[in-house]
């Protein structure tokens, strides 16, 4: 389990996030929401050890995250970054590298690793793309391949930084359903999301950040009730439910003098 305790972190000596206390819980999809520049991605990068911790600590399975060696840490949490290099590897080969933390002498991927790749590609519904080059894929297909790579890491926690960016609405919904399903299977899933509609609909827990600190955290219901999204994003939220019980949200920006 990942737990941040009074975490202050940033780049160099400059703190970008301050006094963050948060944990990614197994079986839950946690969405980290907040305006641009509020430190959402920095929080995930800090957990991955890519920023400088200025105060507080991050615990992974009860131990400070930097006390784990890189491979042991990778077995415990996977990370899907916002962007990655365009590579000309096949989908299967790139996903296979998700098994890197488990590779042992003689340093070849095993049959078991290959089977894991097949499983992950099937789970993401992209098994027919396995021999295609990553550079030939659409944004949605590429993102699914990246999530498949995180899946074969077989880590109990998965962190995703804006996974729905650049995806069409159908792909966004499909990806959110997959994340929800992963959480239902017992993984701790945490995603930075910009789409408040997806956040309110799919998340089990929402943490709202503002100016590098936690503004509020709770279930979507609690967050809506407390009106924190309205004040942080300066907007009005309307909610309606159709006959099938599905909820819809509309967002209206508040005028500057309102």
């Amino acid at each position: 389990m990942i737990r941040c305790e009074a975490l202050t972190a940033g780049y160099g000596k400059k703190a970008v996030i301050r006094e963050i206390t948060w944990q990614a819980e197994p079986g839950r999809l946690t969405v980290i929401a907040g305006p641009n520049g509020c430190g959402k991605s920095t929080l995930l990068k800090s957990v991955m050890g890519q920023t400088r911790i200025l105060d507080g600590r991050i615990l992974l399975d009860g131990r400070p995250v930097d006390s784990w060696n890189a491979r042991e840490r990778a077995k415990r949490m996977a990370y899907v970054p916002q962007s990655r290099n365009e590579v000309n590897l096949t989908v299967a080969r790139m996903v296979l590298h998700g098994r890197f933390p488990y590779i042992v002498y003689p340093r070849h991927y095993t049959k078991e690793d290959q089977d894991m790749v097949e499983w992950a590609l099937e789970k993401m519904g992209i098994q027919d793309l396995k021999d295609r080059l990553m550079s030939e894929l659409s944004g949605g297909e590429r993102q699914k391949a990246c999530v498949a790579m995180a899946l074969v890491q077989d880590a109990p926690a998965i962190l995703l930084d804006e996974p729905t960016t650049y995806l069409d609405i159908s792909c966004q919904l499909e990806l959110m359903e997959i994340l929800k399903q992963l959480a239902a299977e017992g993984k701790a899933v945490a995603a930075v999301l910009h789409d408040l509609g997806h956040s309110l609909r799919f998340a089990d827990q929402i943490m709202v950040m503002e100016h590098g600190a936690v503004a509020d955290a709770g279930t979507p219901e609690e967050i809506l009730e407390r009106g924190i999204l309205e004040s942080v994003f300066r907007l009005d939220i309307c909610r309606s439910t159709d006959q099938a019980g599905r909820e819809y949200y509309w967002f209206q920006r508040r005028k500057a003098n309102a």
Partner: protein, 330 residues
């Protein structure tokens, strides 16, 4: 390796063997295969034995080693800097090695064994400087290449300065600057060759790590690769390969740029295929260029580096425009 990859590798190996044979057989005196076998059996004519053992075989080995070393060095640098325009001669790695060799020749004129070590240190210093620059400034791919060009000029100017002061002791520096194999000696080739063979084997062994590093810093870290350690290790290996090659072949340009690109088109990006293909292709390419340089204008022999530059410079311009076109499409 799958059947297709195995087939292509077998073809390249065949090309390598044929090129080695051609390089050893063709020259001012042509030596037939039967005569080569006779020399191998100890029954050959003395003149053929002398030509083969003292000139052609060391020269062929030097071409193959320098070609393979520079090509793999280029593949590693391109992967680690994630810049397809980077190559050991473009970003100043060769020039760094060159300056170190010139300095070494100036201060220790007869210490042949020191040359590979000096070249390695020079190449390493230039590599780390360029890498530091890329990391610190977040320079774009083209900007990094431009920075490399200026570092190249600076280091070459420093070499020229040393040459000006040490004209007598550095009589061979001119041919060294051009790059070629006419003056290659076994004393310099042996330690450098060992460096190159070990370096290539080590890079091939670490193919998975190199491939993962190419996926980008964040992905590499997330799958448990110690990126800082491996980036340093790979750049050190690239510098060792380029430095060792430069120590006996001089400032050969563009092999480290052309060979990985063509190998990538044939073999794809998977390092388990790419690295052996790059090494073999680089070796064949330099052997063929050297063969052309010493036979096409016979009885004159032009330095191999000049021919490589005539081939490499247009190729680099092609890559540069391709890169710009890709950016404008993005």
């Amino acid at each position: 390796m799958d059947r297709k990859g195995g087939g292509i590798l077998a073809c390249l190996l065949l090309l390598f063997v044929l090129t080695c044979f051609l390089s050893a057989a063709v020259g001012s005196v042509n030596i037939s295969f039967a005569e080569m076998l006779a020399v191998a059996a100890g029954r050959g004519r003395t003149v053929h034995e002398n030509i083969l053992l003292r000139v052609r075989i060391p020269r062929t080995a030097a071409c193959a080693l320098a070609g393979a070393g520079l090509a793999v060095s280029g593949a590693v640098i391109q992967n680690v800097l994630q810049n397809p325009l980077a190559g050991p001669n473009i970003i100043g790695v060769n020039a760094g090695a060159g300056l170190a060799v010139v300095l070494c020749s100036y201060f220790f004129p007869l210490s042949y064994c020191l040359m590979p070590a000096a070249a390695f240190l020079g190449a390493l210093a230039a590599t780390m400087f360029i890498y530091g620059l890329a990391k610190k400034t977040g320079a774009s791919k083209v900007t990094l290449v431009l920075a490399g060009v200026s570092v190249n000029s600076l280091l070459n100017a420093a070499s020229d300065l040393v040459h000006t002061f040490g004209n007598d002791t550095l009589s061979s520096t001119y041919s060294f600057r051009l790059g070629g194999f006419s003056a290659v000696s076994v004393q310099v080739l042996a330690p450098a060759g060992l460096f190159i063979v070990c370096g290539i084997l080590l890079v091939c062994l670490l193919g998975n790590e190199l491939e993962i590093l190419g996926l980008g810093e964040q992905v590499a870290m997330s799958v448990g690769l110690n990126t800082r350690l491996f980036r340093f290790l790979f750049l050190t290996l690239a510098a060792a390969l380029a430095g060792a090659s430069v120590s006996f072949a001089g400032l050969l340009g563009f092999v480290g740029l052309i060979a990985p690109h063509i190998a990538r088109r044939i073999a794809g990006e998977e390092c388990r295929r790419l690295l052996p293909f790059t090494a073999l292709f680089g070796a064949c390419f330099v052997m063929l260029c050297d063969l052309a340089a010493r036979t096409l204008w016979a009885p004159y022999e032009i330095p191999t580096g000049i021919l490589l530059s005539f081939v490499g410079a247009p190729f680099f311009l092609y890559l540069l425009f391709q890169q710009r076109r890709r950016r404008s499409h993005d």
